[in-house]
Symmetry: C2
Subunit: 282 residues, 2 copies
């Protein structure tokens, strides 16, 4: 390889060889996961914001890219990919830079097992965000408008859950279950971080990226006490380490409106006592 070419192939340039476009939404947990890995691996990308509150995920042009009506979607010269966990492994397989996976197959398998677990946990975060935060904005709408909004949810089970979350808040069975599953997640995470700074890797990687957005959301909902330095010190230390990394601001906080955090934190604070009581009852 000639000197010029070898310079071109140096880390930074290789990452700009492919055109990368990310369709995403600032606060969306799964969008955060992909932005974090793009940032970690120093991959330049074109950012296209999909405004979930304005329903842009349902626009026919976008649904052609993402038939699930979800964010994020990654488009490269290779083609279109959806599902954050699939996208993140692809980014690590395809782009050099800091590796986001462990190097041995057994730890890779453990990382994948964890990511699969987090994917299963994911809907609980929706219930928590909705039932503790967003519902308090929605119930201020005129009843007709709200009913129509809920009726437009195509999936029968999601529609029923949304109805319960709006009508019952912290008394909705789906939210009580979500809080219990969150307690399970935090216990598992505290244990995984007992002897390791990062999840199944020597440095921040895909499993950390998959988990972080849910910890951030809990903090935004005024539930940070769940991983205080006395209650769950391993999570606390892990979170502090991440807050000191550039990715934290560049891929996460810079994309989340302060006003949204303010609303979530207010409603979380108002209901904190009841939330902790539910979580203590096992």
């Amino acid at each position: 390889m000639g000197e010029a070419l070898s310079t071109f192939y140096s880390k930074g340039n290789l990452n700009t060889m492919k055109n990368v476009t990310l369709y995403h939404h600032g606060p969306s947990t799964c969008s955060q996961k992909v932005r974090i890995i793009l940032e970690l691996k120093n991959i330049s990308y074109e950012s296209k914001i999909i405004d979930l509150l304005a329903g842009e995920q349902h626009a026919p042009e976008y649904v052609k890219l993402n038939p699930n009506h979800l964010v994020p979607t990654l488009v490269t010269d290779d083609g279109v990919l959806i599902e954050s966990s699939v996208i993140n492994e692809y980014l690590d397989d395809n782009f050099p830079g800091i590796p986001a996976k462990p190097s041995d197959p057994f730890n890779i398998a453990k990382m994948r097992l964890w990511v699969k677990y987090i994917d299963v946990y994911h809907p609980q975060c929706g219930s928590i965000t909705y039932g503790i935060g967003m519902r308090n904005i929605l119930i201020q709408k005129p009843k007709d408008e709200l009913d129509q909004e809920i009726a437009s949810i195509p999936d029968l089970i999601k529609r029923k859950n949304r109805r319960d979350l709006v009508d019952m808040g912290l008394d909705a069975p789906v939210l009580i279950e979500a809080l219990k599953q969150t307690e399970v997640l935090l216990d598992k995470l505290e244990q995984e971080l007992e002897n390791s700074d990062w999840l199944f890797n020597n440095s921040f990687g895909i499993a950390d990226a998959a988990t972080l957005p849910y910890i951030i959301r809990m903090e935004q909902l005024a539930l940070g006490e769940l991983f205080s330095s006395t209650k769950r010190p391993n999570i606390n230390n892990w979170y502090e380490r991440i807050k000191n990394m550039d990715i934290f601001e560049n891929a996460v906080t810079s994309y989340i409106p302060e006003a949204l955090i303010g609303v979530l934190t207010k409603f979380g604070n108002d209901q904190k006592d009841k939330i902790f009581k539910i979580m203590e009852k096992k």
Copy 2:
């Protein structure tokens, strides 16, 4: 590397370097997925049957290996792994032999996306097997005994679904939804196989292994017409190709009792007209 050592490291021997034990159940779809890849890659393993009908998946010793009370579980010198999709990637990463993954990152990502989709489909297969087949055996039990069996299911939603499947059979909403999702799966599969003999690979691989057990189950339930040579020729050809491979008998049919297939096929045949009517209604 000396000659003796290089002979030792030749394909076959490398696959016997690690001790591999598989805890599995003959007809279980996810057990089939792993047995298929072990067979494809010519990996020798110790077989430990977990009798799901006798409740051996709940035995404390087994739960230590698989906290989800499920099969399969793979134990190697590296440690314990669960979840068939994670296990199969581990086997391909770790053992030489016929590769079960495509070689380029984009097709690997598409394979993973498909496997993730199949993992989400998986519970539908349970509803179909249960609601069309097994319920007809269960409803012959004394009511007390049956009620107790259903009451022992810990998960609230699974318990409710089981109750509906037993009480309503083909009128259970969960079964009607499962049949609709099966129609979606078959349409997607027919399309994926339009220009390719195998799923996202040049030869039989992980995505094929993930899909095959559900096609086999449909055939066992007398629903083979859904992928007849006229109705869905691509699936039909793919299935015929697989039936001609050694893995089909060695990893699948040899582990499934004829008597079970007989029962499933009988109940499927009895209800076939109603099943197809449900599937035609979109």
